[in-house]
Amino acid sequence: MLDARTVLTVGDLELDVELAVGDGEVVALLGPNGAGKTTVVRALAGLAPLEAGHVRVDDRTLDDPSRGTFVPPEARPVAVVFQDHLLFPRMSVLENVAFGLRSRGVRRHEARDAARAWLDRVGLADRTSDRPAQLSGGQAQRVALARALVTEPRLLLLDEPLAALDATTRLQVRSELRRHLDGLSGARLLVTHDPVDALVLADRLVVLERGRVTQSGTPAEVAARPASRFVADLVGLNLLHGAAAGEHLVRLPAGGELVVAEPPPAGPLALAIRPQAVALHRTAPEGSPRNAWQATVVEVEGSGDRVRVTLGGSVPLTAEITAASAAALGVVPGERGWATVKAVDVDVYPS
Amino acid sequence: ALPALTGACGGGEAGDADELVVLAAASLTDAFGELGEVFEDQRGVAVTFSFGGSSSLREQILEGSPADVFASASPGPMADLVEAGAVGDPVTFATNRLQIVVPAGNPGGVRDLGDLARDELLVGRCAPEVPCGEVARRVLEEAGVDAAPDTEEPDVRALLVKVAEGELDAGLVYVTDVRSAGDRVEGIDLDEAGATTDYQMAVVAGSARSGLASEFVSLVRSRRGQQVLQSYGFSEP
């Protein structure tokens, strides 16, 4: 169980993050580059001493300036997967993975067996005798992962542990990791930029921006009601801001208006709209959708059999349609057309 | 504090007309320093000394480093140079006597050569390869003392330091060395004959100023020169 408030300054970033991770819980720490995620990890591991606040694991205080307590990294029950791997270049892959157990006093051959088992799990059984310099980026990252996981710590800190993995390996390692995490009793913190990683692996998300926590909750909550552009982009939702302008009406800064299902609360509002809920038409549509407006195609991004269309104009949105209908409609940047959204598809909440 | 060092003072490049370059054994530092001043007063010519171990001086001359006079603490290096035709005829200008040197207060209670054989004492002398060691060996043989030394110093200086520090109870060095070591050591005269070595000097072949050079040699051999030398403990040849 982790209970921490990390207050420290690196460069001109003033970090102040409260974190609580229960036993067996996996918390994903998300945030823009430079938000302070790695710094939090370093602080929890004891590599960056706190200026204020505290770090407690299983009610043991590891760092607390006010009380002058500081437990050095080597004495903490933690393990870290570093963003840049930091494998030991002069050791073989096997020695790297066995290192944690060895330096915690496990006998050589036991440590090596455990290490081998883990290297096998991450699909590197055949690279045990190589040096890190002989590994590819993704292989190195998997070794780093194995090196941390093999020590079964009370607090596991994973800093973008899957960033360098290819699609297939990622699927395998991710479910491998998930299975392992489910098995662990300690607290786990996962730093990632990949929403899928977060959604698949984490029980709870904590969003860090400019050194502060801006949102936290279950994946569903966060995904449904993003509090910031960052989260919206992350989960691929459209996020608009506006204010109530009538019983069922919300006015946007850009000038556009949207009809919504329930009467909107007063004050500044956030509107979340799934790209799939935005339909496109060549001509002004008739029928059910309560919101319809003319829009200009700004950008078209294809992925697989779906196409994401970025729309400009009074209601800046991204629509997601099938490649087929995109072709049918002839959607190309610069084109003008009509966009519609059902009132029920506009999710309104205070921001 | 430094009579020796205040002596010579360098002029322009080695080889100037008004400068005499003298390579001399380190043990002559003080005496020659004084004589250098005398020479300058008399002849108005600067004397530049380069003091060092006789053997490194020999190397310099053999390798053609410009010099006018060479004064050696022993016949050996001089002989090499004569053989190589690098110097003119050498003359013996002084001798140096061997003395037993003991730390101030003579903790070992050493009285004569015989005591050097005492096992409980730490005794040092020069290595047989160097003049003072060669003489020491001779003297001890003649005196019939077989004193296995605890160290055979290649260099009088090293030996003196040890005695002065009380690291040795006795050693055999030259009178001049005992004097220079000041009051931290005492010297005990030997009555044995042949406890002496010859200091030789010669004009370096191809010296640009052989005239001046031989004048310096004769100054050293003059009454005045001998007085100065004796004031530092050397004896007449």
Partner: protein, 269 residues
């Protein structure tokens, strides 16, 4: 590294383990105890007047100058040599690498003699040089510099080479893909990375040169104001006045501290 970045508010003291501290202190004691002994024996009263003596100031000036010159020289040619040994594979490299150490192995007097064989008036290079230009190294301050460089350069070369080996080759690769030639790479990427080694090498080289005695006296002679460095003065002082000798050594020590402390302080962080 970056002045704008504030130092961590809180310096956390890790306790240093005894298994390391104990031997370290042992080493320190062993190296410093003799100096203490030296200080004990020092004639503090004479120290003041001594420093006034022209012969001392001459020798001190000459020592510092020649040691510095030798170090600069060594840097200028020694760093490239180190680079060659560290980066350019050629046959017999390991032999050359060992040969570079030899000037350290030779007894100083022999080293000096060897220098005479090479650069003396009758020397391999010295003779033609002398005949062509009339220039003569022995007895000249340049001779002292040469002797110092000969004895001290190996320390620089070996240390810098090890530094270059330690450097990360991948950074050099990156620099190359950005169009940097090997010279630029060395200057802007490798050397800055190996700075600690270069500084250590320079310090070793300078200190060794400052203390050089045997080779200098044999090769360059012992002429006050021209080739008489402080160690030579000490050697002569030992003849006549051992107090003065100790005092002079302390001057040497003080001089080196005066240079080394600020230097390494400035760079070694």
């Amino acid at each position: 590294m970056n002045p704008s970045a504030p130092p961590p508010r809180r310096e956390v003291r890790h306790r240093a383990p005894l298994v390391l501290v104990a031997p370290a202190l042992l080493a320190l004691g062993f190296l410093l105890l003799p100096l203490v002994g030296l200080l004990q024996r020092a004639p503090w009263s004479d120290l003041g007047p001594l420093l006034g003596e022209p012969i001392v100031t001459d020798a001190l000036r000459l020592s510092v100058l020649s040691a510095t010159a030798a170090t600069v020289l060594s840097l200028a040619v020694g760093v490239p040599l180190a680079w060659l040994l560290a980066r350019v594979p050629f046959r017999g490299r390991s032999v050359v690498r060992a040969l570079v150490l030899l000037p350290m192995v030779l007894p100083p007097v022999v080293g000096g003699a060897a220098l005479l064989f090479a650069l003396g008036r009758r020397g391999l290079v010295g003779e033609p040089l002398h005949e062509a230009t009339g220039f003569l190294l022995p007895y000249s301050t340049w001779g002292v510099v040469a002797a110092n460089a000969f004895v001290a350069m190996p320390f620089l070369v070996v240390t810098v080479e090890s530094g270059l080996r330690g450097a990360d080759r991948r950074l050099e690769d990156a620099a190359a893909t950005l169009g940097a030639g090997r010279w630029t790479v060395l200057r802007r990427v490798t050397l800055p990375g190996a700075l600690p080694a270069v500084l250590a090498g320079a310090a070793l080289c300078w200190a060794r040169a400052l203390g050089e005695f045997g080779a200098t006296v044999t090769f360059a002679g012992n002429l006050q104001g021209r080739t008489q460095t402080l160690p030579l003065a000490v050697y002569l002082a030992l003849e006549s006045d051992r107090e003065a000798a100790i005092a002079l050594s302390l001057v040497l020590v003080a001089a080196s501290l005066a240079v080394l402390i600020p230097l390494r302080d400035r760079w070694m962080r």
